[in-house]
Symmetry: C2
Subunit: 363 residues, 2 copies
């Protein structure tokens, strides 16, 4: 039968807790939909660096790259740093080395989870930010030039990656529009490139590349928006947008803002997708303050796992994977609609409670 | 007597309208407080570029630089661009050429103006973002290198400017704490540097410089926060912060986000301050869609003018200026508390109505 290999990098801190919770929910789900998932547990992260001198060994990288998908918890630890003082973040290495250019970060309100904005439209928010994840300012990671007097970093945007990012974004908008085709929700897809083309040539360049790709998607509307105006509109009228591609650093900032709108990092899944590989991980960090206490909210990881099943389905794994993805997302929604309240939103349901509540909605 | 020279660059679009409205309010205010203000009207901006071939002549620049303060409306126009496709923005030239390193952007809720966040604490929000305004990514403005395949920009952070930015931020936090010393509001000042030191050496460098300056302000608390986490916290718990200095591009993004929290750009004043010069201007643009219709909200410009009077007072212009600044801010607050509603918040009071309502609260 069709068993897929999932590399599991649980990582540091609460990464291990939310990953375990998610695997416990995937078990009954996989059974129910007759889908085969074989996990390969791999070690990477800050504590791995402390113990072995490397944050992710070449063997681990190769195993992850060889799997059908990668499920990641969270990595990094404040006190464990590289020699130049920056954080241990092998998740960034995965993005770069596996060319995972499309960082997909849905911003979707979950029924029952309090949203930040007062406007009632925020309660039905459903947009997606696509953070380019292999270049932009992050091209400069580890390459910054520092003297006594000054420091410099280089932001780099390439035609090749921008073209892929654009194609990915338009295809996503098209697919979302098709899924929305229920009576009364006939909205065409909309891609809004977020840039700073009014000041920087590199972003004017990015606009040019997007415009070329847009012509191949006449069914999808295309606009551009300056990043500062976008930050404002994310708190004033986010419901007017749909798919929002942007440069890496802009995406790092605005995806966290987006998470803040719909309950915080505990509710924000993500997928870093390339042509041949993909990493699925919660957008949150390792949360040293609550690590080991069983208090971490596993929702972001559960929803990331749903994105993983969906991505595998789209790559031909079969309808069972698509159904499982949909049921997992629906189960999360149903659990919160029925009163599940994790500590990050003022509730008393810890990691295991949350996993149990979601699992109970399956089947 | 003590008459100060104010260079007035009203600019393009609604820039001219909000500037005229503000001058009309400053007239009775100046009389009442016995302060002398002499205006020198200067032309600059996109239409100036179209008509004369230069967005700001050297004579205009010299006149602005020679004034005691500069009051600016808004500049730029979508259809009028420089040869590399970027926007006409002489306000950026002023920041660079006059070394206005501290872009002060208060985020303060005005009673009666709807805030974006549902949490009631947002209604008393009062924090200040300080956007470094002469370097960072904007160092690269007009210098981006573009080939067919790729484009690059350089982010630059210098010790000299960072030291000034840090000193400015700590002094501002100290001053704000002193002003807060009313019964029940005994909160010490807090400076939170917003950076991305976990990934970029240039921001680790920035942290190092700030730490050195922090030692000279033992009465002010000092913390650091990553820019992505800050974007999230600006929508989750902005009331936990006080003074937030940051790099130019980060500041461009987060100050607009901040504006979105408290009514939008129409309510967001700003001051770009250097050692010897300062420009005061609303954070909004020229709003081509409503330009010439008398609908623009002049509040941001009125509050910017109040910041100007306050800055002049701090530089020795006299108590009359400080009193006038305080009264102007209070008059804006009182007008909105009494029902003034501009079109940007769904009301029907245009530019002239708003100016009249604020003027009526003076004296
Ligand atoms: C941990 C950090 C280096 C990382 C990033 O900046 O990309 C994180 O913020 C993220 O968004 O995945
Ligand atoms: C008009 C634009 C170039 C400018 C900037 O990016 O600095 C504006 O957004 C601002 O914040 O003053």
């Amino acid at each position: 039968s069709n068993t897929l290999r999932i590399a599991v990098l649980a990582g540091d801190g609460i990464g291990t807790e939310v990953t375990a919770a998610t695997l416990s929910v995937l078990e009954p789900l996989a059974k129910r939909h007759g889908i085969g998932l074989a996990y390969e547990h791999l070690r990477a992260g800050a504590f791995c660096y402390r113990d072995t001198g490397t944050a992710m060994s070449e063997a681990t990288f190769a195993a992850a790259a060889g799997a059908d998908a990668i499920l990641l918890g969270a990595m990094g630890w404040p006190e464990i740093r590289t020699e130049d003082g920056t954080e241990i973040a092998p998740q960034l290495d995965l993005r770069f080395r596996l060319n995972l250019y499309a960082g997909v970060r849905p911003v979707r309100a979950i029924p029952g989870v309090p949203v930040a904005l007062a406007d009632p439209r925020a309660q039905a928010l459903d947009i997606v930010l696509v953070r380019e994840s292999t270049e932009g300012l992050f091209h400069s990671r580890g390459k910054g030039v520092v003297t006594y007097d000054a420091a410099e970093e280089t932001l780099r945007i390439t035609r090749a990656t921008t073209e892929k990012l654009a194609r990915f974004s338009f295809a996503l908008a098209r697919r979302r529009a098709a899924t929305r085709q229920k009576p009364g929700r006939q909205k065409p897809g909309l891609v809004t490139l977020v840039d700073k083309a009014n000041v920087f040539r590199a972003f004017a360049f990015m606009r040019g590349v997007f415009a070329g790709v847009a012509e191949h998607f006449p069914d999808v509307a295309y606009r551009q928006h300056y990043v500062d105006a976008m930050a404002l509109d994310l708190v004033r009228r986010p419901w007017d947008f749909d798919v929002l591609p942007m440069e890496n650093m802009f995406g790092d900032i605005l995806t966290d803002l987006g998470a803040g709108l719909v309950g915080g990092m505990g509710f924000s899944p993500s997928a870093d997708i390339g042509d041949d590989h993909a990493v699925f991980q919660p957008a949150h960090g390792t949360a040293p303050d609550i690590a080991g206490k069983g208090l971490a909210n596993p929702t972001a990881t559960l929803l990331s796992a749903a994105m993983m099943l969906d991505w595998l389905a789209a790559r031909g794994a079969g309808q069972g994977f698509a159904d499982a993805a949909q049921e997992l997302t629906a189960a999360v929604d149903a659990a919160f609609a029925d009163g599940l309240r994790t500590p990050d939103i003022g509730g008393r349901h810890g990691t295991a409670d949350a996993a149990r509540a979601v699992a109970a909605k399956i089947g």
